[in-house]
């Protein structure tokens, strides 16, 4: 039980809690944000729409009440004024006043129409009582522009005749329709307001109509620098909606502005943010209260869980860890009244049982340990004996595992390969024993150890070369698989350094080869001198001379044969004879040999009996080699056969092998000679008795050749009755 698991459960709970807590909070937050966006969007749209609507209506109303310069009444008034000034009579004065009255009557909104001079003194008016008065605001008068009051405004126009100013034309207009306009809108909302704004071109703007909330009388003016003011924004000749501006009261408002080009007025429709956000603020209250409340609830639930589930589990876990470490005295807390309490109980009883089991186990373990130690000691002793045994062997021994890695190497091998056991154990044997054959490196795949491990075969006394410090050694390698039942554990390799023996052998062969060549020359002279003498070329020979020279000739022939045999043997031993197999017609070979031996056969009147000899029978072998073998065997049989004896040549096949048997009726081979019959220069003990000649190389040569051909040679013999030699050869290529 790893400690982090204990922490894990608490962590998992915390994670779960946060997850459960976050989901509603995030949902609520998301919903809130969407709602805020929606409400804002809705209000700005509404405000913008209202502003557009109001702009049109203001234009309509204002244009309706501002007099047209070219209307008949205005032109009449001008004419009356001209007439009065050119002829100031009471009549023309009265006409002037009545034409002003006509203007006033032409529009319901006109309260009073008057003309005053450059000093602001009324010179004519629709209302007689005004004449001579000077109540026009000086400022308005000097600006010479229409001045707006609340609920009414005064419209003025300079009256010019040519370039001469004759007076100011002034109309006082009732503005209740505009005020009504604002009031109708105000009724729709608690804070909604329409403002008409004019740029004073003196760094401030001026509200044309009375404000809804301001108690201040007169025009409200706001400096242009108050850019957060919707009133200021409204005169910038664009249509805009704003979400967070501060109006003349200092209240946060949502506003839409419009520009009325015909009047060069700005129009503001605005609504307090507080009013707009009423539905949202309710929601916000919910959020503000709900979040801490839920945090509190989660906290309480968490505390409860910790006390009743997490803590007990942690305690139980700690106890379990202690027990697992061997402290069996620990007991789980039983105070919990739920399933965990039950678990703790079960846990405690399990601990009790563990103590029992453990004590038993300890006893048994100590018994087994003692037993094991005894066995180990025995094995170790055996092993040391084995190692001592292997180490003391004169030949080099290397043992490998099933992969060819060295597991043991004896002293002799250490010396041979010039390595130390502790350095080489574990290394692949192919690296240490890097063999060569015919001068070429033996690849790992063809290494005798690989072959033994793969095919589970014994490789016996195979010769390889090995280069040690630039010196080529010759090794005779034997590899045996180490098997146990059907498993292969490794291989045991025994290496014998046969370099010296081989060198001596080779020198011997070379000597024989050279000597034989030197012998052939003189032998040829002898042979041919004899031949010439026997032919009577130097005169007829006497009987005695003829016999002597005949014997010399025979002796020469024997020596020639001996030299031939030596040469043959030397060549075989030097490996100079190449094995070149093909399908060979055995019958033809046998007939050839018989014909070679014709002279001897006829001389002794020997009968050759052929049995089962088929013309088509072939064996897969080397023609020259098999001829040599059959020649040696058949020649032996003829040589040792008595006069008029029978030699039988029998052919058969069995299991893919051809058997050639040659039987004679000769003296047979004594038992004591039989084991040595194929040895070099060996001649049977009874041979001098039968008075035949031989080199003792024939059967040795035959055996060597048969080995090269992959065949077998053997014999059966009974002294006094005769011998049967047999050879076997593969019929088909493998």
């Amino acid at each position: 039980m790893r400690p982090f698991f204990r922490i894990g459960i608490a962590k998992q709970f915390i994670f779960l809690f946060i997850l459960i807590f976050l989901i509603p909070v995030l949902t609520l937050g998301g919903f809130f944000a969407i709602e805020v966006f929606r409400v804002k969007q809705q209000n700005t749209t509404e405000l913008a729409y209202a502003a557009k609507l109001q702009k049109d209506r203001v234009e309509e109303i204002v244009l309706a009440i501002i007099p047209d310069d070219n209307s008949k009444v205005v032109l009449d008034a001008k004419e009356a004024l001209t007439r009065y000034q050119s002829d100031p009579t009471p009549k023309s004065f009265s006409e002037l006043n009545s034409s002003l009255l006509n203007i006033q009557k032409s529009n319901n909104a006109y309260r009073r129409v008057s003309i005053f001079d450059e000093n602001g003194i009324v010179i004519a008016s629709s209302s007689d009582s005004d004449i001579g008065q000077s109540y026009i605001d000086r400022e308005v008068f000097s600006r010479k522009t229409p001045t707006f009051g609340f609920r009414e405004f005064e419209w003025g126009r300079r009256m010019l005749f040519g370039y001469y100013q004759v007076g100011d034309f002034n109309i006082k207009i009732d503005l209740s329709s505009l005020i009504e306009l604002q009031e109708t809108f105000s009724a729709l909302s608690q804070t909604g307001e329409i403002e008409l704004v004019r740029d004073n071109f003196d760094g401030s703007v001026e509200l044309i109509t009375p404000t809804r909330f301001s108690i201040q009388q007169g025009h409200l003016s706001i400096p242009l620098s108050v850019i957060s003011s919707p009133e200021v924004r409204s005169v910038n000749r664009t249509e805009q909606t704003y979400e967070d501006l501060v109006d003349y009261r200092g209240a946060h408002v949502y506003a839409a502005t419009q520009y009325i080009p015909s009047l060069d007025w700005g129009l503001v429709v605005k609504k307090d943010r507080t009013e707009i956000l009423v539905p949202i603020s309710n929601l916000r209250t919910v959020v503000i209260f709900a979040v801490p409340l839920s945090v509190l609830l989660f906290l309480l639930a968490g505390l409860y869980l910790k006390k009743n589930i997490i803590s007990p589990i942690e305690k139980l876990t700690q106890t379990a860890i202690k027990i697992s470490r061997g402290d069996y005295s620990k007991r789980a807390d039983l105070s919990f009244k739920n399933e965990i309490g039950e678990l703790a109980k079960a846990f405690n009883s399990m601990s009790d049982e563990l103590i029992d089991a453990n004590q038993n186990l300890e006893k048994r373990v100590s018994q087994k340990t003692a037993q094991l130690q005894r066995t180990l000691k025995k094995i170790k002793e055996e092993e040391q004996k084995d190692i001592a045994l292997l180490s003391s062997i004169g030949e080099s021994v290397i043992a490998t595992d099933s992969k060819g890695n060295i597991i043991f190497i004896n002293q002799s091998a250490e010396q041979l390969f010039d390595v130390s056991r502790k350095d080489i154990v574990g290394a692949p044997v192919f690296g240490l024993v890097s063999l060569r054959s015919g001068g070429k490196k033996v690849e790992r795949n063809f290494h005798p150890v690989t072959q033994t491990l793969r095919n589970r075969v014994v490789i016996r006394s195979k010769e390889f070369e090995f280069v040690r410090r630039e010196e080529t050694l010759i090794f005779e390698v034997t590899v045996t698989p180490v098997e146990f039942g059907s498993d292969i554990f490794g291989a045991m390799m025994v290496v014998r350094d046969v370099t010296k023996e081989k060198i001596i052998d080779r020198m011997k062969s070379e000597f024989i080869f050279l000597a034989s060549h030197q012998l052939r020359g003189p032998l040829a002279s002898l042979k041919w001198y004899n031949e010439m003498l026997l032919n009577g070329e130097e005169g007829k020979l006497t009987k005695g001379q003829s016999r002597f020279i005949g014997n010399m000739s025979n002796a020469t022939e024997r020596m020639i044969k001996l030299v031939d045999d030596f040469l043959n043997m030397a060549r075989i031993e030097r490996g100079e004879i190449k094995f070149e197999p093909s399908q060979v017609q055995i019958e033809k070979v046998i007939q050839g040999v018989v014909s070679d031996l014709k002279e001897e056969i006829e001389k002794k009147s020997i009968r050759i009996q052929f049995e089962n000899l088929s013309r088509t029978q072939t064996a897969y072998t080397d023609q020259g080699m098999i001829r040599e073998v059959i020649w040696n065997i058949l020649q032996n049989s003829v040589k040792y056969s008595p006069v008029q004896g029978q030699v039988t040549v029998h052919l058969s096949d069995k299991e893919g092998q051809m058997y050639i048997e040659v039987s004679d009726q000769g003296p047979g081979i004594p038992l004591e000679s039989q084991p040595h019959i194929f040895s070099k220069f060996f001649r049977a003990t009874n041979i001098p008795v039968s008075g035949t000649t031989g080199t003792g190389l024939g059967l040795y040569t035959a055996k060597r050749l048969i080995d090269r051909m992959g065949g077998k040679i053997g014999f059966a013999s009974t002294q006094g009755k005769g011998s049967t030699f047999w050879i076997s050869l593969p019929i088909k290529k493998k």
Binding site: H517, R520, G521, P522, A524, K527, M532, I560, D564, R571
Partner: protein, 123 residues
């Protein structure tokens, strides 16, 4: 049967040269003998033989090399060569025949009569 054909015999064995000379002269051939290749080539400058009998193992140039040189020399390449040697291996025989020898005999395995008969056939 009498013929004036010239044979050139190259061998370093005195006894054998004696036998060849004796026997072949008797058979009616004009016989020249040489102990080594150098001598043989010297002789052939004066007297071109009708047939050459050649040993393989000699001091100086070997019989193989001499055979090769003979076959490569204009005027000598057409002279038939019988190899008469102590080397009995199949490879040696093959090599000589490939180099252009007409016949190959191992001395100890051949009777004198056999050789004479063959010379008569070829020369």
């Amino acid at each position: 049967m009498a013929t004036s054909k010239t044979l050139l015999i190259i061998d370093d064995d005195e006894f054998l040269l004696d036998i060849y000379k004796h026997k072949l002269t008797k058979e009616g051939f004009a016989v020249d003998t040489a102990k080594d290749a150098e001598e043989a080539f010297e002789l052939m400058k004066k007297n071109k033989p009708n047939l050459i009998i050649l040993d393989l193992i000699m001091p100086g140039m070997s019989g193989f090399d001499m055979l090769e040189q003979l076959k490569a020399t204009t005027g000598l390449s057409k002279i038939p060569v019988i190899v008469l040697t102590n080397l009995g291996q199949e490879e040696d025989r093959k090599r000589c025949l490939e180099l252009g020898a007409k016949e190959y005999y191992v001395k100890t395995a051949t009777s004198l009569q056999q050789i004479i008969n063959r010379i008569k056939e070829i020369a």
